[in-house]
């Protein structure tokens, strides 16, 4: 595998170009993902991402399974935020079936979505620092907070990461008593944790020197490559689906959308911390306005009772939400039967990955690793 490429330039000190495969078996590629990198010394000349190691045929499986049957599989797409995957799939099917979702279920969905955003961004900040070389300290601080929220998910949905909690027309079970004030306590404890992380990281000279002006993503390249999520907003494009689609009840909450200016790794890191602050604001408002009431619509309850003969009217629909990693969309086509005819997932990580090479050219090997870390990809979603 040492096929070296001889440069044809004038007889300079013809150092061979080293082709290194930062391969599936590498400590910091966030899962099974390979980058074929051609190095001249330490700087990157060419970079080709190689994916598909974790392809589990998710979309083909969904075509011969009942509508609700593929709900637990959506947890395995982006295993860091399973609740938002469920919400996106439920939204798409509800759009096609025309089921309305009761008030309390809408609030529960918003609470679960924002808690997942907190979990995802904390873990991302931790792993980005791990790629930078901080020996696991930020990751373990982040996991300390993440564990508390995962315990909340476990008490609500039964499992920490594979929640399978959403049903078409609402949620599976109502919140257990004592959930709300326990969640309030965690949400109030979050700002001190964010301050601690900021004191540890944001003004750290080494971090600033390593992350600033590294892997700059220009505004128009981001828009043309249809990048979405914090990566896009860090380059300064104001595009947040919660504000644009106003799906569910997001228009009742007032929150801001943080935008970066330069679009480098530092911006992507700090935009996510600001987004966490906004999610906390939404959560506080949602806890205040949470009212009693049914948790699942009547039609949804019947469908949940016997999913195998739940029929969805013919037609196609595209439901999308602002997942922590970007615009997560489900495109489903139904022939009116109990099984979807076509089922496609628009995974944000996969599309954000396409611009990895443009950002990495000219940088060092060490930068390529943290640029990959800052895009925040999860291979379950990339390979589906």
């Amino acid at each position: 595998m040492t096929n070296t490429i001889e440069t044809q330039t004038r007889p300079s000190l013809s150092t061979q170009q080293l082709e290194v495969s930062i391969g599936p078996q590498h400590p910091s590629t966030h899962g099974v993902f390979r980058m074929n990198v051609v190095l001249d010394g330490e700087t990157i000349v060419k970079l080709k991402p190689v994916m598909g190691y974790l392809h589990r045929n998710h979309e083909q499986l969904a075509e011969n399974m009942s509508w609700l049957g593929s709900m637990p599989y959506t947890d395995r797409l982006d295993y860091f935020c399973s609740m938002t995957n469920n919400i996106a799939y439920a939204l798409a099917v509800e759009k096609l079936m025309g089921i309305d979702v009761p008030e309390r279920a809408q609030y529960i969905r918003v609470i679960m979505a924002e808690l997942t955003r907190l979990v995802n961004h904390t873990a991302l900040v931790g792993f980005l620092l791990n790629d930078l070389g901080a020996f696991f300290t930020p990751v373990l601080y982040a996991f300390r907070e993440r564990e508390k929220i995962l315990d909340l998910f476990e008490s609500v949905a039964g499992s920490r990461m594979m929640c399978n909690y959403m049903r078409f027309g609402g949620v599976k079970l109502d919140l257990p008593d004592g959930f709300v004030d326990c969640a309030k306590a965690i949400v109030d404890n979050y700002p001190p944790f964010l301050e601690e992380m900021e004191r540890l990281l944001t003004k750290n000279e080494i971090l600033m020197a390593r992350c600033q002006n590294v892997g700059i993503l220009l505004k128009d390249l981001a828009v043309n490559a249809s990048v979405t999520g914090p990566v896009l907003r860090a380059s300064g494009v104001n595009y947040d689906i919660r504000k644009i689609d106003k799906y569910g009840i997001y228009d009742r909450f007032d929150f801001k959308v943080p935008l970066g200016t330069v679009g480098d790794v530092y911006d992507r890191y700090y935009v996510r911390i600001l987004e966490m602050r906004e999610s906390l604001k939404i959560l506080r408002q949602a806890f205040k306005e949470l009212s009693a009431g049914p948790v699942i619509s009547q039609k949804g309850l019947i469908a949940a009772k016997s999913p195998r003969n739940m029929k969805v009217p013919a037609g196609d629909a595209y439901g999308r939400i602002e997942a922590p990693k970007g615009e997560l969309g489900f495109y489903i086509v139904s022939e009116g039967g109990t099984k979807p005819y076509r089922y496609h997932v628009r995974a944000p990580s996969f599309i954000n990955l396409t611009i990895l090479e443009d950002m990495c050219l000219g940088h060092k090997v060490a930068d390529a690793i943290i640029i990959l870390g800052s895009i925040d990809i999860v291979l379950g979603e990339v390979d589906r």
Binding site: T9, R10, S12, L13, T15
Partner: protein
């Protein structure tokens, strides 16, 4: 003390021969650094501590690494000796070297009044060495520093020159 001298000089000679005759250049530089270390050991034996330490610091620390880098950059690790036509040159080499050796040994043996080891242990303190260097030997000291800067700049200019044009 006596055994130490003979042991070290045997190591010295053997590694010198190896350093010159091995085919793989990496092993050559390795044996060269063994030569430098054992000659530093000889300096310690001769009670010249300061020179022994300077020898290790400069030769093993810097020169050996420089040699290794040069070997790595020029990439012909196993020097392909085209011995086809030059068999005789190889023998010429031995002939001249042994001629020089014979002359030297002859001159050493002919010397009768070689100085005997007068004082068993006289130790020149580093402080007096330093004073001497900056008083009696001030001129060579300044010239040496001048020479080092010139060598550094020259080395960089020669090696760097290509990089500027091509990048």
């Amino acid at each position: 003390m006596i055994a130490a001298f003979y042991l070290i000089s045997v190591v010295l000679i053997v590694s010198a021969v190896l350093a010159v005759s091995l085919r793989n250049l990496i092993y050559c530089t390795l044996c060269a650094s063994v030569v430098f270390i054992s000659s530093a050991a000889l300096f310690f034996l001769l009670k010249a501590d300061f020179i022994g330490v300077v020898q290790i610091l400069i030769y093993v620390g810097a020169v050996a690494t420089l040699l290794l880098f040069a070997v790595m950059l020029t990439k012909n690790l196993v020097s392909r000796q085209y011995y086809v036509g030059q068999k005789r040159k190889w023998s010429y080499g031995i002939f001249t070297a042994s001629a020089v050796l014979w002359v030297l040994i002859g001159s050493i043996r002919s010397q009768t009044n070689l100085a005997e080891l007068v004082t068993a242990d006289h130790q020149l303190s580093v402080v007096s060495l330093g004073k001497e260097m900056l008083t009696a030997f001030l001129l060579p000291f300044e010239v040496a520093s001048l020479l080092l800067t010139a060598a550094m700049i020259g080395g960089i200019v020669i090696a760097l020159e290509e990089k500027k044009k091509s990048s």
